[in-house]
Symmetry: C2
Subunit: 431 residues, 2 copies
């Protein structure tokens, strides 16, 4: 055993107990006759205090010579000292340098100025040793847990759908081609059609998994590989799934703020817990608001980055934009019965950031076939999908939520690359 | 609202209560003056009982005419009747046929003979309406939950690593090429190098996500897209992670058998709960056992399908094969210090099925570089990975477990395609 205790467990150990801790050295400080070494592991940190006279000179010298970032195993005894971080320190009796750091990164793990992002991403695993990076990824972990617990409590079944697919879901743009044995295939840009199909067997389903989009631009909020939180429910329409999404945001945020306040403290960020109902604006109300702000848009025009920035400024926080023009939405989105140029659809926004998109889906094969043709797609390419609609496909609705973007909002980050372990974009394919 | 209650909630409703249920019709039976309609939703089923004289003739005729698999919404009142499945039935006052089934699948959802697998997979979403298929996927859902809860309780952090990668992890065989903007990339066949790196920041990590292997053969236990359960821990060796894996199998199986006995009853299968420790045999002990069974193998030869079948027959259930020849393992597996032709490695088997593979990893850059060259790989191609080893990479160990194979064992299935929603192999890319 390379360790008897994690650093987070030392506060519960009796004074004088012999322990073996293991981790990496985040700093070594010399204060006259005392050397302080901070040892970090995956759960926290502990101060190792070596005082001349209290520990052998040879050990003091060895501790002093350890370069930061090295991995060490330290045996020692626990001493209660309120001045030490966490209230305990370890008085070392031996140290084993198991992996000496030969280089130092161009940043401090405790904060301060950071070099250009690319320099950090080049040694991403080292960059993730930063205290704030650790907090972001522990929030991410807790978010995943909270999301899955929430969906499970609502009776949804977790599913996993294929990432290698034969046909583009929403047309051919932004797809990565894959050579699949001797034929062309694509990486799934969404589990859309699969999750819709699965409502006929499992009623309510969710999937949290990767999606792939060949984004030709480089922005702070797009990646070519992202994690999508997908939900689809039978016998539901877009209003039902908006309520579910709203409950989800509120419940998850509340749970996180009460469960891991220390991570938000490390990030110096308190996530906004929205109150229900989250504000709803139709697309056409948004056009009116934009008009009042001096931006003229006709019905059917998409809301561009600048428009969303304007709306985000006017509304702030979380809000829905509903009832989008049918022509702006994919073929599977349901047009309204009484006004088919408008669809049963919504986006969930936070400020100017689109977090989620959803709607009621078409569940009649004939209507879906007509919509495919209107979008310039070939029904024959979707035969594998349309086929199951002949077996009593229920009405259904759902949404996709960008996990990375949601974690950006929760942790107060502006660049999506900060919340993804190894981001992928046009230019970056390593590490 | 298309439903007021799920079928699973009707047992807790007082008699006479008016309810609205929604789902699909699994059977319509006529017994003289009574029509029984079984309605299934994602959580169970309820009998809808329409008796001549008790419900209008017109409604009786409409119920009678509904083709199985159609989706319906039924309003009615709850009546307690111990003869009905679940002890309650619904006396209908209205029925809405929201999606009429135009076709019938070539199988019964309740069991009996099944047509060739391909015929079922062609309409997979309908196939998943079978009672046994539903049970398999609810076991799968519960397994995912139990795995994540177990890893979280052990302090591991959940991570998500990229699926599009620049370099083959273990050499170029069996990789799917991707056109990534203007260059060639690959689909990750494992998160191996990323999870190893992340131990330097997060100590212990796990990931449950897709892996991709261009398997050129078609077997009952290989797919070209699978879900892998990956674990990696700093300051641990292969014995530590074997113990973790052993605990995981025991804890997860126990939890499932107590949490969802009804699913195993539907499958007519009781999963084996192994007792600890799970038996361990070295590779060389396995060679001896095979020799006694008349199979001659030299040290360094791989154990083939037939050999594993023989071992599975001799040992049975769960067992480890440890200490494999170094040359049979990937470059990152650590050779034993005193006998470098043998490695600190293991496979977890169930019968003749390999469930998991793991070991201690090399954490010194110079050793890893030498091993890459010995395997005919170019260290330059792995520079993005080797680079972080200069910053105090801790000793670490881990394993990868095939989720689909584990679910096969838990649910007693022989074909991996039965436990995957939309399986992918050489021949099948749809649905």
């Amino acid at each position: 055993m390379l360790r008897t205790h994690r650093t987070s467990e030392l506060g519960r150990v009796r004074e004088g107990r012999r322990v073996k801790v293991a981790g990496w050295v985040s700093s070594v400080r010399d204060q006259g006759s005392i050397t302080f070494l901070m040892l970090r592991d995956g759960w926290g940190e502990v101060q190792v205090t070596a005082k001349k006279g209290e520990v052998p000179d040879e050990l003091l010298e060895r501790l002093h010579a350890i370069p930061p970032h090295s991995s060490v195993v330290i045996v020692g005894t626990v001493r209660i000292d309120q001045r030490a971080p966490g209230g305990v320190e370890v008085i070392p009796s031996s140290v084993q340098l198991v992996s000496r750091a030969k280089k130092q990164p161009p940043f401090s793990v405790y904060g301060g100025n950071l070099p250009a992002l690319d320099r950090r991403l080049d040694i991403r695993a080292v960059d993730l040793r930063r205290v704030k990076a650790g907090a972001i990824f522990r929030v991410r972990h807790a978010t995943l847990r909270a999301l899955r617990d929430f969906f499970t409590s609502r009776g949804l079944t977790e599913v996993q759908t294929p990432k290698i697919i034969a046909t583009a879901t929403e047309g051919g743009a932004e797809l990565f081609p894959v050579l699949y044995f001797d034929r062309e295939a694509f990486l799934a840009q969404s589990p859309q059609l699969y999750k819709e199909q699965l409502t006929m067997a499992f009623d309510g389903v969710f999937e949290i998994g990767p999606i792939f989009r060949a984004e030709p631009s480089r922005t702070l909020r797009h990646l070519s590989e992202a994690i999508s939180v997908d939900v689809e429910m039978a016998f539901a329409d877009y209003r039902d799934v908006m309520r579910l999404l709203e409950d989800m945001v509120v419940r998850v945020t509340k749970r996180l703020t009460s469960e891991i306040p220390e991570e938000f403290a490390a990030l110096e960020h308190s996530p906004e817990v929205p109150s229900k109902p989250i504000q709803r604006f139709t697309y056409e109300q948004c056009l009116s608001m934009l008009r009042e702000a001096g931006v003229e848009k006709d019905f059917g025009e998409d809301l561009e980055t600048d428009d969303l920035r304007e709306l985000g400024r006017m509304i702030g926080g979380y809000y829905f934009i509903t009832d989008w023009p049918t022509k702006l939405k994919p073929f599977y989105i349901k047009p309204k019965a009484r006004r088919p140029e408008v669809s049963e659809s919504f986006d969930l926004m936070h400020g100017d950031l689109e977090l989620s998109s959803g709607g009621s889906r078409i569940h009649r094969r004939s209507v879906l076939t007509r919509r495919l043709k209107e979008k310039g797609l070939k029904p024959r390419d979707f035969e594998y999908h349309l086929r199951v609609f002949d077996y009593g496909m229920p009405p259904h609705a759902g949404f996709g939520l960008g996990l990375d973007r949601f974690v950006m909002v929760l942790t107060g980050q502006d660049n999506i690359r900060e919340v993804v372990a190894y981001p992928r974009d046009m230019r970056r394919l390593t590490p």
